[in-house]
């Protein structure tokens, strides 16, 4: 569904993505893992067209995404930190997004998360008055709102309380079962355990490996994802 070929991106002298090529397919649930500054978010932003690669290209459903925008109708994106126009109310943000994506929404709206997170009780609050966690909830709700084929979630559980975190996880699993492509970055590896089918490991902008969770566990001989990754990191830092 998504194919990246030789994607490079530098910010000044820093090489954020170094010749990254990978393929993500429908029905997969992929975890993007790597230390801080390894290029996970940059890669996600490249997928969304928010960051333009220096060279290399990315295709979405076999179409190059450069200079295209319509493909984003198939993507639900939850950013790392939910940033919204300060003086809009939650309800206005939802309405605006519905308004803008009205034409491109393929199947009906999915407002489960809004009620599950209890956002419908605070719909009239202005964005600037919200806590970081509530903003995350708004971001998550928006990502799932339009029933997209692809979900891209950047640190989805980072600011959430355990209950909300659990709600979100369940939501992700239910979507995975519907056969959607899910891309997640997270440092909370325990959260990924139940969700992930594939692991992509990035370090210093380079793709270190892309294998299935099963394969990774076999290769490292560890039972838990957390330990498997810890071992990978250690061996990469001290080769």
């Amino acid at each position: 569904m998504i194919i990246a070929t030789n994607v490079n991106k530098s910010f000044g002298r820093l090489k954020a993505l170094d010749n990254v090529s990978l393929t993500c397919n429908k029905g997969q649930s992929i975890s993007l893992i790597g230390p801080n500054g390894s290029g996970k978010t940059t890669f996600i932003k490249c997928l969304l067209g928010m960051v333009v690669p220096d060279n290399g290209f990315i295709t979405f459903n076999n179409k190059n995404i450069a200079h295209d925008w319509a493909y984003r109708a198939h993507i639900g994106y939850m950013p790392q930190t939910g940033r919204f126009p300060d003086n809009m109310r939650i309800v206005q943000v939802f309405d605006m997004m519905k308004d803008i994506r009205k034409d491109s929404a393929t199947c009906g709206l999915d407002e489960d998360l809004i009620s599950a997170f209890g956002l419908n009780k605070v719909l009239n609050k202005r964005m600037r008055t919200l806590s970081g966690g509530t903003r995350q909830k708004v971001g998550a709700s928006l990502a799932f709102l339009f029933n997209p084929d692809v979900l891209i979630l950047d640190e989805p559980t980072a600011g959430l309380d355990p209950v909300s975190s659990e709600i979100l996880k369940e939501k992700i699993i239910s979507q995975k079962q519907k056969g959607k492509l899910i891309l997640i970055t997270s440092h909370i590896l325990s959260d990924l355990e139940d969700i992930t089918t594939e692991i992509i490991y990035l370090q210093e902008g380079k793709l270190k490996f892309h294998k299935s969770l099963q394969q990774l566990k076999e290769d490292t001989g560890e039972e838990k994802l957390t330990r498997a990754i810890a071992q990978v990191m250690k061996s990469n830092l001290h080769p």
Binding site: K45, V52, W69, Y71, R72, R83, F84, M96, R101
Partner: protein, 255 residues
């Protein structure tokens, strides 16, 4: 695109600065016309406000607004929205709001007190300058990532067009006073929208004096249909060129 323009305009109107700007222009215009004993003198006093304040407010407000819309832009860029459309929407939204503010704040009093050729020209120039400086503001805020730096660039641009450029021209005209500079000055006027606007108003307000100079180049050039067309085209260029550059830059910008 229409939807996004709607949200931008609604957002700006909720932001009270544009309302304050409208009221400010309105009060200034009214008091200027009431204090001066004839409408022509009132227009003259308004001239400097239109040539100085309108560009200043337009560029600063727009720059700050674009920076404050970073979240809005980030939110929409990840959505199925064309980047060019997004930027043009923000520009159009800003332009509509500020044009409206100028029309109500200054246009209305001018129409009431001095609905003459000079009055209409002043309204036209005010509107044109608003557009030009919104356009420059959008450029300034897209080429710089840092808010403080962007506002600095905006103020500098304004300062350049309002004062420094004229200083340079005055210097050049004196340095080359032995040469026939009449034609060249028409070229100079095209390089600064404030100057161009001022000359267009001068030709309405001070026509008797402008006729007095040998050749009366400006009158000959700008007085006729082609001159007006030329001024209009140059103004449009001043609006579209920065917007075009901004769109180009914005389409490649990483957010």
């Amino acid at each position: 695109m229409k939807k996004i323009i709607k949200y931008v305009v609604l957002d700006i109107l909720r932001n009270r600065i544009v309302l304050a700007y409208t009221v400010f222009l309105f009060i200034i215009s009214l008091s200027v016309f009431n204090l001066e004993d004839n409408a022509a003198k009132g227009l003259l006093s308004l001239l400097n406000i239109i040539l100085i304040i309108v560009p200043l407010i337009s560029i600063i407000f727009s720059t700050i607004y674009v920076y404050n819309s970073t979240e809005f832009i980030e939110l929409l860029v990840s959505q199925p929205v064309k980047r060019t459309g997004l930027l043009l929407s923000i520009f159009t939204g800003l332009a509509i709001s500020l044009l409206l503010a100028f029309l109500v704040g200054a246009g209305l009093p001018i129409l009431i007190y001095s609905a003459s050729g000079a009055g209409f020209m002043m309204i036209f120039v005010g509107l044109a300058l608003t557009l030009v400086f919104v356009s420059l503001a959008v450029l300034a805020s897209v080429i710089t990532r840092d808010k403080a730096k962007g506002i600095g660039v905006a103020i500098l641009l304004w300062f350049y067009f309002a004062l420094i450029y004229d200083g340079i021209i005055l210097f050049i005209l004196f340095q080359f006073s032995d040469y026939p500079m009449e034609k060249v000055t028409i070229g100079f006027s095209a390089l600064n929208p404030i100057d161009l606007g001022r000359i267009m108003i001068l030709l309405k307000l001070d026509i008797a004096a402008m006729m007095g100079y040998t050749g009366a180049v400006f009158k000959d050039f700008f007085g006729g249909f082609w001159g007006i067309l030329y001024a209009l085209l140059v103004m449009l260029l001043w609006v579209f060129l920065p917007v075009w550059l901004t769109v180009r830059k914005f389409n490649r910008k990483d957010l």
